[in-house]
C-alpha cells in the first residue's frame, strides 16, 4: 500500500508540474498523460493475466497470494493514473464507454474484495456446519438417507405393510452417522458427526414423527429453501418441532432432536449457499467487463496514436 501511495503521489506531482505550464489539464497526449496511459494499459494487461494464471494453476506461476496482492494494489494504482491520463474528462463515445467500463471493473473488484473479507467471517459465525458448496446436495442427500432409515426403523409405519423386513435391516450398516451441531470449544463452534448404533426397536406413538418427516422434513432436507417449506424459517421450525414433541413419547425425543438438528444444518447450508453466491456473483460483472475493457483499450490505443 505504501508503494501505491508513493507512486500515486509522485505521479500526481509530475502531472501537476506539467499542468503548471498549461492552461488545461494534461490529457492523454501530454508527456505525463501518455506515460500514465502506457503504465495504466500495462497494469490492465497484467491484471487480466490473473485469469490466465488461474487457468494454468498447474504451471505454478508464482504464489497465489503474491498474484492477488499485485492484482489488488496495481489495480487500485491504475485508477489515479488513468484518471490523470484522461485529463479528468470522459471525451467521446469510445473513451466514455472505456472510462465507464474501467470504473465498473474497478468498482466490482472493490465490491468483490470487500465480500471476500467480510463474508468468510459471516460464514464462520453463522454457518458452523459449513461444507463444500458443490457438495451440499450430496451431503444432505446422505443425511436424508440415514435419517430416513432411522425414522423407518424406529417410528411407527403409516401402513402396516411398509414395516422394514429383517433382511432389509441386515443389509444396512450397524451404525448410523448423525451430525451434531452442538459442538463448541471456546469461541469455536462446528459440526461433528456422531456415530450411533442402529436400534431395531419401534417406538410406539411415533406415527406423527413419521408423518411430519414425510410431508415436511424430507423435502426440506433434500431441496432446502427451494422446497418453500416453513422449516426454512427458524422460528416456525421451532414452533413446529415443539408441537411435534408434545404429541410424541419421551423415548422418541432423541429422534426429534436429530431431525431438528438436520433441519438446522439445512438452514445453515442454505445460508452458506447464499453467501457463496454473493461471494462470487461480482465475478459475473468483473470478468466480462474486463474482456470488454481489453478490447476497447486496444481500439483506443490505435485511434489515439493515429489521430494524436
Amino acid at each position: 500500500m505504501v508503494l501505491v501511495v508513493v507512486a500515486t503521489v509522485c505521479a500526481l506531482g509530475c502531472w501537476l508540474l506539467e499542468y503548471k505550464n498549461r492552461s488545461t489539464l494534461p490529457g492523454g497526449s501530454s508527456r505525463s498523460g501518455f506515460a500514465f496511459g502506457v503504465i495504466g494499459g500495462l497494469i490492465i494487461f497484467f491484471e487480466s493475466l490473473l485469469g490466465v494464471r488461474k487457468a494454468l494453476r498447474g504451471w505454478r506461476l508464482g504464489r497465489t497470494r503474491g498474484w492477488m496482492i499485485a492484482h489488488i494494489w496495481l489495480g487500485l494504482l491504475s485508477v489515479p493514473l488513468l484518471f490523470m491520463h484522461s485529463g479528468i474528462m470522459f471525451g467521446g463515445t469510445l473513451s466514455t464507454i472505456l472510462s465507464l467500463v474501467f470504473l465498473t471493473v474497478i468498482g466490482s473488484g472493490i465490491w468483490g474484495l470487500w465480500f471476500q473479507h467480510w463474508y468468510p467471517m459471516r460464514i464462520y459465525q453463522e454457518v458452523p456446519g459449513e461444507t463444500i458448496v458443490a457438495q451440499i446436495p450430496q451431503v444432505m442427500r446422505q443425511h436424508l438417507d440415514e435419517v430416513r432409515d432411522l425414522v423407518e426403523e424406529q417410528c411407527e409405519s403409516l401402513k402396516r405393510e411398509e414395516a422394514v423386513t429383517p433382511e432389509e435391516r441386515m443389509s444396512k450398516s450397524m451404525f448410523m452417522s448423525m451430525p451434531d451441531l452442538s459442538f463448541s470449544s471456546g469461541n469455536i463452534q462446528g459440526k461433528t458427526v456422531t456415530t450411533i448404533p442402529r436400534s431395531e426397536k419401534v417406538i410406539s406413538g411415533t406415527r406423527a414423527i413419521r408423518q411430519f418427516f414425510e410431508s415436511d422434513i424430507a423435502p426440506y432436507l433434500e431441496y432446502g429453501r427451494r422446497s418453500k417449506s416453513k422449516l426454512a424459517n427458524p422460528a416456525q421450525a421451532e414452533r413446529m418441532f415443539r408441537e411435534l414433541e408434545n404429541v410424541t413419547p419421551t423415548e422418541a425425543q432423541g429422534i426429534n432432536k436429530i431431525l431438528k438438528d438436520l433441519c438446522s444444518l439445512r438452514r445453515q447450508l442454505d445460508a452458506q449457499e447464499s453467501i457463496y453466491n454473493w461471494l462470487h456473483m461480482w465475478l459475473c460483472v468483473h470478468l466480462p467487463l474486463t474482456i470488454v475493457l481489453l478490447v476497447l483499450m486496444v481500439v483506443h490505443i490505435i485511434y489515439a496514436l493515429r489521430y494524436w
Partner: protein
C-alpha cells in the same frame, strides 16, 4: 448389519471430481464473458462493416465544434496521421528532432485558416500550434476562441523573454485582467499615454503621427446637447448671445417636418419602446400638436440614441438630406452592432445646425459642408457667377471676344460683373464670419476675425474604434445606461438633485474624453465577490473577452478581413465538404 469398508467409504462424497462441476454462477460467468467478447468485437467490427466511414464517430475523443461539424466523420480533414495537431509535439520532437519552426505549423488547419502570426516580433519558439489554443472535440457549443487566460499569460506574464528584441512595446508582466495588481495597465487612450499616438497612427494612418486624443478638432459639449432645449445653464454665458432654445417649431423651420418627426420619435422612445411603431403620419400630427404649445413646452430633448446608433435603420434620414453624398456608405443596411456608426454632419447635425447665411437679398443660402474656407470662397464665386449668368443669359450668347483692339464697352461690362460678384462674395463671407458657421463646431489652426482668408479648419479626428487593441461590443452592453460608463456625457442636473453622478457632468465646450478607465470594466468583469456587502463582478474576464491573438500588428482588421484571415486558395466545394485539399 454391515460396516462400511475402506472402498465404500469414499462413496460417501459421491462424485470424486465434484470440483470440476461448474456451479450456476460459474456457468453464468463463462457465458457472460463470451457474450461480452462477441458483443464488443461486434460493436467494433460493425462500425467498419455495416456503416463504413461512420465508425470514426464512435472512436473520436469528443464532439467537434459546430464550425467543424461537416468533418465529424473525416478525421483526416484536420489530422495528419500519427502527427500531433495539438501542443503535445514532444513525441514527434523526440522522434524527428526539435528546433524546426515548421513543427508549429498545422498545414491542415492553415488550409482553411491562414491566420497570420500574432506579432512578427515574437520568437518562433514562443508560438504554438493552432490547437495549442483552439481546442476542438469539446462539444458542439464549446468556443474555439474563448480561451483560458493561461493561453495568453504563458507569454504575457513575461513578454520580454518571448520577443526577438528582448523587449516588448507593451506591458510585459500581465497575469490577469481583473486584479489591479496583476500587471494589466489602464487603457492608454484614457491616461494620455504618449504611446497612444503610436496606436492611433494605426487607426488613422500616417496623418495621425501627432495625434492627441484630447485634440479632436471639434468643439462639442455632450452636457449642453443633453440639456432640454440645449439651453446653457444659468451663470454660463453662451458664445452666441442671441441664441435661443431649440424647439420643434424652430427645427421645422430649419429642416422641415421630417427632421422634427425623427427627433420627436427618439424622444418618445425614451419612455415608450413602441414609439418606433407609430406611423409617420401620426408622428406628423404629434409634431404639429407640439408646435402649438408655448416655446418652453416644445423644447427638444436629445438623448444618446439621437446621434449614436448601432444600426442605421434606427435613424432613417431621407436620402434627400444626404444628397450628393455616398448614401449607401453612410447608411449601411445592416451592421454588426458592436460599434456605433460614425457621426456625420449631414445625418446628425444638419437638422439644427443649418449651414446657411443671408446675403441681404431675398433668402437664406446654404453652403456646402466639408469645405475649407478657401474652398468656400471659390464655391461662393461659382454660385454668384452662375446666378449672374442665369440672370443675363446674353453674356453666354454674346461672349466676350478677343480682338486686336481695345473694346472699352466689353471691359467695362466685365469689370462690372466681377465687381458685383466680388461684392456678393464679400457680403456672404461677412455673414459666414458673423454667424461663425464653421468655428461654432470646428477648431481652426489660426483663429482671427478674417479667418476665411487665412485660416484652415482642423480636420475632426474621432475614431470609430478608440481602443484598437481590443474589441468591444456595445450591443452586448445594451442593458446598461450609457452614462454608467460614459458618465461625463450626462446633462447637468438641477442643483437640488441628489444624483451623485450629476457632479461629474461638467458643461464644457471642449470636452475631455468620456471613455471609461479599466476600473470601470473591472466593476463587472471580475470574479464574483462582495465589496462592502454589495455583490460585484461576475461577468467574464478572460483575456479573449477583449483581445484577439491573431494579427495584432493590424488590430483593426476584423474577422472578415483578408488581412486577418487570408485565404490561400479557394476550395472546390465538394472536396471541401469531404475534407480534402486540392494538390
Amino acid at each position: 448389519m454391515v460396516d462400511l469398508n475402506l472402498r465404500e467409504r469414499p462413496d460417501r462424497i459421491g462424485r470424486r471430481d465434484y470440483f470440476l462441476t461448474r456451479t450456476p454462477i460459474e456457468k453464468w460467468k463463462r457465458f457472460l464473458s463470451w457474450f461480452a467478447l462477441f458483443v464488443t468485437l461486434g460493436w467494433v467490427a460493425g462500425g467498419f462493416l455495416l456503416r463504413p466511414g461512420y465508425a470514426v464517430d464512435r472512436y473520436s475523443h469528443g464532439t467537434l465544434n459546430h464550425v467543424h461539424a461537416t468533418w465529424d466523420l473525416k478525421c483526416d480533414a484536420c489530422h495528419e496521421v500519427f502527427s500531433p495537431v495539438n501542443e503535445n509535439t514532444w513525441l514527434r520532437d523526440w522522434w524527428s528532432g526539435p528546433g524546426s519552426v515548421e513543427k508549429w505549423r498545422n498545414p491542415k488547419c492553415e488550409g482553411c485558416h491562414a491566420g497570420p502570426a500574432h506579432h512578427q516580433s515574437v520568437k518562433a519558439d514562443s508560438m504554438g500550434t493552432c490547437a495549442s489554443c483552439h481546442r476542438d472535440h469539446q462539444g458542439r457549443e464549446h468556443s474555439l476562441v474563448s480561451l483560458p487566460d493561461f493561453d495568453c499569460t504563458r507569454c504575457h506574464r513575461d513578454a520580454n523573454t518571448h520577443m526577438k528584441s528582448g523587449e516588448s512595446e507593451y506591458a510585459s508582466k500581465i497575469r490577469n485582467f481583473y486584479d489591479p495588481n496583476a500587471g494589466h495597465p489602464d487603457f492608454r487612450v484614457t491616461v494620455g499615454d504618449p504611446a497612444t499616438q503610436v496606436a492611433m497612427k494605426k487607426i488613422a494612418g500616417s496623418e495621425a503621427k501627432a495625434f492627441d486624443p484630447n485634440d479632436r478638432g471639434l468643439r462639442f459639449s455632450h452636457s449642453l446637447h443633453m440639456t432640454l432645449g440645449q439651453e446653457y445653464p444659468q451663470g454660463v454665458t453662451p458664445r452666441e448671445p442671441t441664441r435661443s432654445s431649440m424647439t420643434y417649431s424652430q427645427m421645422v423651420e430649419l429642416s422641415g417636418r421630417d427632421a422634427a418627426v425623427r427627433y420627436l420619435r427618439l424622444e418618445m422612445q425614451l419612455v415608450d419602446h413602441d414609439a418606433h411603431l407609430v406611423p409617420d403620419a401620426v408622428m406628423v400630427s404629434r409634431v404639429e400638436e407640439k408646435m402649438k404649445l408655448p416655446p418652453e413646452a416644445q423644447r427638444v430633448q436629445l438623448s444618446c440614441i439621437a446621434c449614436h446608433q448601432l444600426d442605421n435603420t434606427d435613424f432613417k434620414v431621407p436620402d434627400t438630406q444626404l444628397k450628393g453624398l455616398p448614401v449607401e456608405s453612410l447608411s449601411q443596411p445592416r451592421t454588426g452592432g458592436a460599434y456605433f456608426q460614425p457621426i456625420n454632419y449631414e445625418k446628425h447635425c444638419s437638422s439644427c445646425h443649418v449651414l446657411s447665411y443671408s446675403d441681404g437679398q431675398t433668402r437664406e443660402r446654404a453652403i456646402q459642408h466639408r469645405l475649407q474656407p478657401a474652398e468656400i470662397e471659390k464655391q461662393l464665386e461659382r454660385t454668384y457667377t452662375a446666378e449672374i449668368l442665369k440672370q443675363t443669359p446674353t453674356i453666354l450668347s454674346d461672349p466676350f471676344q478677343k480682338s486686336e483692339r481695345l473694346d472699352p464697352r466689353q471691359e467695362d461690362e466685365k469689370r462690372t460683373l466681377w465687381t458685383q460678384i466680388a461684392q456678393q462674395v464679400k457680403v456672404a463671407k461677412g455673414q459666414i464670419v458673423e454667424k461663425s458657421l464653421c468655428l461654432k463646431c470646428h477648431e481652426s489652426k489660426m483663429e482671427g476675425p478674417n479667418f476665411i482668408d487665412a485660416v484652415t479648419i482642423k480636420p475632426t479626428r474621432i475614431p470609430t474604434i478608440w481602443m484598437p487593441h481590443s474589441k468591444f461590443d456595445h450591443q452586448a452592453h445594451r442593458s446598461a445606461d450609457c452614462t454608467t460608463c460614459h458618465n461625463g456625457c450626462k446633462a447637468p442636473l438641477d442643483e437640488g438633485s441628489s444624483d451623485p453622478m450629476s457632479k461629474s457632468a461638467v458643461l464644457v465646450e471642449k470636452e475631455p474624453l468620456h471613455l471609461p478607465g479599466i476600473d470601470n470594466c473591472r466593476a463587472c468583469h471580475a470574479p464574483n465577490a462582495k465589496k462592502n456587502g454589495v455583490a460585484v463582478g461576475g461577468a467574464r474576464y478572460n483575456c479573449t473577452e477583449c483581445h484577439r491573438y491573431h494579427d495584432a500588428d493590424h488590430p483593426l482588421a476584423g474577422p472578415g478581413s483578408i488581412r486577418n484571415d487570408p485565404v490561400k486558395k479557394y476550395q472546390d466545394s465538394i472536396m471541401f465538404r469531404q475534407g480534402k485539399r486540392e494538390p
